[in-house]
Each structure stands twice: as C-alpha cells, then as structure tokens.
Subunit: 213 residues, 2 copies
Amino acid sequence: MPSENRDAPKSVIRRLPIYLRILDNLMRNEVDVVSSRELSEETGFTAEQIRKDLAFFGAFGTRGTGYHTNVLRENILRIIGLDVQTNIIVVGAGHLGTALVRYNSTKNPYVNVVAAFDIDPEVVGTRILDVEVMHSSRMKEIVERHEVKVAVLAVPSKQAQAAADVIVNSGVSVIFNFSSIKLQVPENVYVHNVDLSIELQSLIYYANSEKNA
Amino acid sequence: MPSENRDAPKSVIRRLPIYLRILDNLMRNEVDVVSSRELSEETGFTAEQIRKDLAFFGAFGTRGTGYHTNVLRENILRIIGLDVQTNIIVVGAGHLGTALVRYNSTKNPYVNVVAAFDIDPEVVGTRILDVEVMHSSRMKEIVERHEVKVAVLAVPSKQAQAAADVIVNSGVSVIFNFSSIKLQVPENVYVHNVDLSIELQSLIYYANSEKNA
DNA sequence: CTGTGTGAAGGAGTTCACAGCG
DNA sequence: CGCTGTGAACTCCTTCACACAG
C-alpha cells in the first residue's frame, strides 16, 4: 500500500486539482458516489490513469462501487494542503497583476489574496476589489504576519529578478512566475514558470501544421 | 538525417520558442555563434537535449564551432511558422482578456492582435491600446479577412462553450483556453488549456512539502 | 581537439490486463 | 458481477557515450 512517502510524480500533482474541481461540482449536485470511468469522461484522462493517480496516495475507493465523493474530496484536499486556507500575495499591480488578483479572489476557492505589491507610487495605496496594493518594502512584514506560502510574480521582465529577490527575502518559498526570465533563486525555493508568449508561440506551430482534418 | 516529416514531440515544440528568445537576445548583442553548452546555461536544459531538439529538424550546426545565431534563428522561425506574422484574436474583454490583449500586443513579437471580442455592450466599441473591441457577431468576418489562426479565450466559464462554438464557426482551428471547462470542439480543432486556478492549487502542494531545505 | 549529431541505454509515466474485494 | 487496485508491458523522452566533421 503506497503512502505519501515516495515523492509524487509532478504529473499526478497537476491532475489532483482537476479531480478536486469535479468533486466540488458533484458535491453541489449531491452525487454521493463516482467511478473512475465517470471521472474519465469529465476529464479526458483514462480511467486507469485516474485510479493509479488516486491509488498512489492510498486506497480511497470501494471495489464494485466507486469512490465516495466527499471521502475522495477530503483526501485530495488534505494531500494538496488545501484543507486549510492558503494565503498568497501578488507582486506587480499592472494589468496582468491586477487581473490575477481579481481572478484568484473571485474564481479560486481555497486561496486568499492577502495583499498586492508594487513600487509605483501611482498604484501603491489603491485597492483591487478589497485587496490593498502596498509598497514592496512592506512585503516581509505581511508575509510573516499572514504566513504567506506562495507569491504570484507579474512584473515586467526587467524588474523580475529584483522582485524575486524581495520575495525570497520575505520568506516565501514558492513563486508562480509570469515573467519571461529564468529567475535565480536559492535551491529551497520552488519556481513555476508560465510564459504566455512562449505558450502562444508554440501553439502557432500547431496552427500551421493543421493541413490534415 | 531526420527531417520535418516525423511529427515532432510536443516537448520539443514547447522548447523551440525558448531557444528563439535567447537567439533574439544574442542577435541584439551581435553574438554570431553559440554552442549547445551556452544555450544550456541560459535555459537550464542539458546541452545534449538541446542538440537532440535541434537535430530533429536537420543539421543546423557546425561541428567544432557551434550554431550560427542567425541561421539557427531563421530555421526555428520557419519550423514554428513565425517567419510570417501570425494574426490572433482575443475573445473576452474582461480584466484577464484585456491584460492578454495588452500583453500580446506589447510583449509578444511575431504575433499581431487584430481584434478583441465581447458581447457586453458596455465594452463593445472601446479600444485596448489600438485594438478594437468588437461584438462577437463580427468574429467570422474578421477571422476570414485577416486569416486568423489562433484565438485566445478568456471569458467566464459559463460562457466559454458558447464562445468556443463561435470561434470554431469562424474558422479558427487553435484555441488557447483560459477558462476552466473542458471545451467540446471538433477533432480538427486544437485546444491548449491554461487553468490558472488549477496551476496555483497544485503549487500549494509544493509549498506545503517544503520541510526540507 | 572542439562541439555537433546520433545510436544505445536508461528513466518516467501511461496503458494493459487481470487479480481481488465488496 | 462491477469497479478498484496493481504488477507487467509499453511508449515516450532524456541522458550517456562516442563517432565524426570542421
């Protein structure tokens, strides 16, 4: 019986929140039990893969029946660490940063945006929804007070490394980086890059190879 | 000698635009030649992997020397299909959509945002930078006139499937989807999903497993 | 003698096939 | 029987090791 000891494949961790969203929906519709086959239809992943993913962390299902929606949901919440509200900050209150504050405040359950940061006096002191935009010099104070775990980084590339340094110095160990530079960070800091230009450019390859129907 | 016949691994296609950006920088700095080792230092990928990626499409390098920056750049542009400007549209002119229009207009070379679309009378007729926000009913006309290849979809989840239907009907075959639902599209349409909630949630797993230094 | 191009070996993740429990 | 849990086979990609061209 495998447990949470062996470190989980990244691919599995990426899929867990997808299962979670479906389970949230099923809960709302008061569906008590769900099979890997049904999850397969919702997600597009194969049923075997879903069973393997879930079995990696333990045996949550009932043979012959399926998975109890709430049991599975609780377990996934616990595995990811979403059973307690997670505090995050957004660094950079430009257009993208602002959109990300709004997005995570309204569309992302389980996370709480405690503050946004910028260095532009024009925006410091303003609010995005009910989130205050503070000067970056206050980051450490806020991170410590709210035990912030994750920083979303959305500043222009030229300022990205400096902003990352401030983030690391504040004690945050996970950075969700939207800038297009490779951040230099200590080993114990985990950086996840999403580069929208790069992703769009690689899509163009597929747009151009669409000769076949 | 492998050529562009065998269909390229997705992993390779994802990395090509990263090489491209570095080559653009080298061109600006008038660096004529670059080795796989130097590209490795910039990207974090191993030198062998970079050579394999590039060799997949042909032998662009010079043994004992490295790659000629401009030759390699031209080849990558041609492989991806960025040697001609690519026209895209952004569907949804809310906060995220607006940020994406701005982002791609200013930060993404090689692509041209020809229009944004929405159905809210409040925003139809306004401009984001110099990009006009049009009613979705005009999408087909614009797509045909400008031979639009890619649509960026950033509307609320509830409207996402309807918007995707309009996009598909307009003749666009590649959708960059920021909504959190699984779009139902014909087989010949390629959908690339980026779900910011999901990605952030999976990051929280790593934030919580950071016990080790 | 340097750095590319590439077969061979290795590793990670997915699919298959089925044993086993409710 | 039905659906989960899981070893085994397989596929895809990465790393290794080295031949070979400039």
